[in-house]
């Protein structure tokens, strides 16, 4: 993709009259031509599994319908560890589940692919919804969430979210998480509340503009210091373990530090592996964390769990398009709602900046696809004109767009003088594994919580409901699992579900050599086959594959 040279585009921007954009005649046609959720050929029908016949993005379908990476023989000699509750994922949901399960007396292992805290949680800036305002109510939170999700969320889950939200905030405060105040002091003050798009009341609580960081560092510390929780970093989930009835009875992990499989026999397995951004659906950049490769979603589906709203993702219109090291990073909607314009390389506005997110995204993609984007160091996007906004409304940057200022400085830009370059970025998986209020799935023994679960956000998530979801449902899953866990491991654990799965793949004519889960983004240059060659001490030192050694 090419665009108009950045310098030339800057000159045209300065000369621009910022005239209102022409209205879009045919929104349907625009979406079909340019939006990834609507574009012809971007969705395929699943051929196997509980959701056979449902549509989902092509790249995700390939992962969901992949073959298992392991056979029974791979597990020979692997150490076996028993626990009551096994939690996969070291983000906010996994930590909330682990802490709650441990407090309830369960024996807990928390395993994570990278390092505890490496997650989308730590990157969340906006905040967390809870109806605490005098003018607000949990009923309003319930209704706003349901409406924003286009009415297709699970009412029981949304009611649970809204009514538990204030208590989840108390739980976080008890563990040491701080929130900003609007007035008064730490005792007796009032919490600062921001209004999410689509809400009828201000309901987002926050800590500055790094709420997720404040949450994650508290939860990480609490987990690391809790002697009842065994924490295994660098141990990705490779497969779930089943018994002959198809129940989930544990998991196969791969220890990347010791180069070996570990079998964990667990009465309850809680998946909290997050989203799918790093699969780069439809070749989109993503705002997601490096580990967001849908591992849990793929394995839950393989063992038989049903999914919902798998064709619904959030593409945020204003991801960073330049510089490359921040590609896909998020610029909050605050900039556009404060009045910032979007302009193409000709210096023209091309869409009502406050139109629905999918329309704005599609319009930006159209400009880029048709050569009216702006090109800088090989990256293509459109301008988000903050300097013009600052001239029109002096002080906006300092008062309303603090986070954007920080981001711009990271990019080496003075935001009051130079526009940001943006293009849509893959931000969130709206749907996921079907769960009930306790996070249980259609597979006995298997729980899901956090972004990989579905039903809470319907087809569109409100800002601030993701952080609330991971705490409310992480805690509920942890408590329920600890209470229902048996002390004794299942008598017979194995890979019983794989036989049926492979039979389905063959019957549907699916390839057997597409293995999953992905574990890492494709550019991680990670090959599981190569990794397995490291087992058994054949080659234990790290050796770079291509780069040369220093002479």
């Amino acid at each position: 993709m090419t665009g108009i040279d950045h310098r030339l585009a800057l000159e045209r921007l300065l000369a621009s009259d910022h005239a209102a954009p022409n209205p879009i005649d045919d929104i349907e046609a625009l979406l079909k031509a340019h939006h990834p959720d609507y574009r012809e050929g971007s969705l395929v029908s699943l051929a196997v599994g509980a959701n056979r016949g449902s549509e989902c993005p092509t790249a995700l379908a390939a992962s969901l319908q992949s073959n298992a990476r392991i056979e029974d023989a791979d597990l020979a000699g692997a150490p076996v560890v028993d626990t009551e509750v096994l939690i996969i994922g070291g983000g906010g949901a996994g930590c909330a589940a682990a802490l709650t399960a441990a407090e309830a007396g369960g024996r807990v292992i928390l395993a994570t692919k990278l390092r505890i805290g490496d997650s989308n949680t730590v990157m969340a800036e906006g905040g967390i919804q809870a109806a605490v305002g005098e003018d607000d109510s949990i009923q309003r939170h319930f209704e706003d969430t349901l409406r924003a999700g286009h009415g297709c969320a699970d009412r029981r889950l949304v009611a649970c979210l809204a009514s538990s939200a204030p208590d989840s905030i108390r739980w976080l405060i008890d563990r040491g998480m701080r929130f900003d105040l609007a007035e008064g002091g730490a005792i007796g003050g009032k919490l600062l509340r921001k209004k999410p798009g689509g809400a009828t009341r201000a309901r987002i609580l926050s800590f500055k503009d790094y709420t997720g960081l404040e949450m994650m560092r508290v939860l990480r510390e609490a987990v690391e210091l809790d002697e009842r929780i065994r924490l295994w970093n660098r141990c990705p989930l490779v497969e779930l373990l089943s018994d002959e009835a198809g129940h989930c009875v544990g998991a196969v992990l791969y220890d990347l530090a010791l180069h070996r499989f570990v079998l964990v026999r667990a009465s309850c397995v809680i998946l909290a592996t997050g989203g799918v951004g790093r699969l780069h659906l439809n070749d989109f950049p993503t705002s997601n964390h490096y580990g967001a490769t849908a591992d849990g979603l793929v394995l839950a589906y393989r063992i038989g769990a049903a999914l919902r709203e798998l064709d619904s993702f959030q593409y945020h219109p204003t991801g960073i398009a330049w510089p490359s090291f921040r590609l896909g990073g998020l610029i909050s909607e605050a900039a556009r709602s404060a009045g910032a314009h979007l302009l193409n390389g000709l210096g023209e506005r091309f869409v009502d900046e406050l139109a629905a997110r999918d329309v704005v995204s599609a319009a930006i993609l159209r400009e880029c696809a048709e050569g009216r984007g702006i090109e800088r160091e090989g990256m293509v996007g459109v301008f988000l004109d903050i300097p013009e906004l600052e001239r029109r409304q002096p002080g906006t940057l300092a008062q309303r767009l603090i986070s954007l200022g920080h981001l711009a400085r990271q990019c080496g830009i003075d935001p009051s003088r130079e526009p940001m370059m943006v293009r849509p970025t893959l931000h969130y998986q709206n749907g996921g594994v079907v769960i009930d209020e306790n996070g249980t799935t259609s597979v006995p023994g298997l729980y899901c919580t956090g972004e990989l679960s579905g039903g809470i956000h319907g087809r569109n998530r409100m800002m601030g409901n993701a952080l609330q979801e991971i705490i409310t449902f992480g805690r509920r899953a942890g408590l329920h699992a600890a209470r229902s866990a048996s002390r004794h491991p299942a008598p017979k654990v194995g890979l019983f579900h794989l036989q049926g799965w492979r039979r389905q793949l063959v019957a549907a004519g699916m390839p057997l050599d597409r293995f999953g889960p992905d574990l890492f983004p494709r550019y991680a240059n990670f090959d599981f086959g190569d990794e397995l060659a490291l087992r058994g001490g054949k080659r234990t030192t790290y050796a770079p594959k291509r780069a040369r050694r220093v002479e």
Binding site: V122, L191, L213, Y290, P323, V550
Partner: protein, 214 residues
């Protein structure tokens, strides 16, 4: 588009890249396997991609985050592994419950080394976020809970903990003070009231509401 190449060294390996690329991107471009020491990929909040860097012609070795640091000619980079560190400052969730007048005793008992700070400034120069770590340690060691604010933007990368010759663990001390001051001293009135209303059954949700239109 043509950009000039620069040559950097990462963990002893030579990588040719462009000056627009971050250290992490340069590694990915070069086909290196990248499966740890990586996280938020540029936001600079996860603290995973810690590196020591030395720029060409300089003798000083600095700590930095690989996702935020761009390649430049002659840059030498060494990734710092996250050691399964022995945490010698261990405390329970109820550590701060009880007599909050004696909070300084609790701080001293849990982080005794803070009293022995050498004021070497190692923590301040190690911090990739340029926080006033040393000031925070001093305040905490004097029982001043406003130390919490010094660590507002701390990403818990542990670089100050590595740098400290007295093993104070400044970031964990900072987080301890943050957590205790919030857990024992943060009670917003609106939240207190709302919890009370929900617990007494004065506020419930009607799930069967017919319309969800505003």
């Amino acid at each position: 588009m043509q950009t000039s190449q620069v040559r950097i060294t990462v963990n002893g390996c030579v990588i040719d890249t462009e000056p627009t690329r971050s250290i992490l991107e340069a590694m990915i471009d070069a086909g290196e396997t990248l499966i740890d020491g990586v996280g938020c990929m540029g936001q600079g909040v996860c603290g995973s991609c810690r590196v020591l860097v030395r720029r060409q012609g300089e003798s000083e070795v600095l700590s930095a985050l690989a996702c935020e640091t761009r390649a430049c000619e002659g840059l030498q980079v060494a990734f710092l592994d996250h050691l399964p560190m022995h945490r010698h400052h261990v405390y329970a969730m109820d550590d701060w419950n009880g007599d909050s007048w004696r909070i300084l005793e609790r701080i001293n008992a849990t982080f005794p080394e803070a009293q022995h700070c050498r004021h070497c400034g190692g923590c301040d120069s190690a911090c990739p976020k340029h926080l006033q770590v040393h000031k925070g340690v001093m305040l905490a060691a004097a029982g001043d809970l406003s130390a919490a604010e010094c660590f507002d933007e701390c990403i818990m990368c542990d670089l100050c903990t590595i740098a400290c010759p007295e093993l104070i663990s400044p970031n964990h001390l900072g987080l301890y003070v943050r957590r205790l001051s919030t857990a024992i001293g943060f009670r917003p009135a609106d939240l207190v009231l709302r919890l009370h209303q929900i617990e007494r059954g004065e506020m419930v949700i009607d799930q069967d509401v017919a319309s969800t239109q505003p």
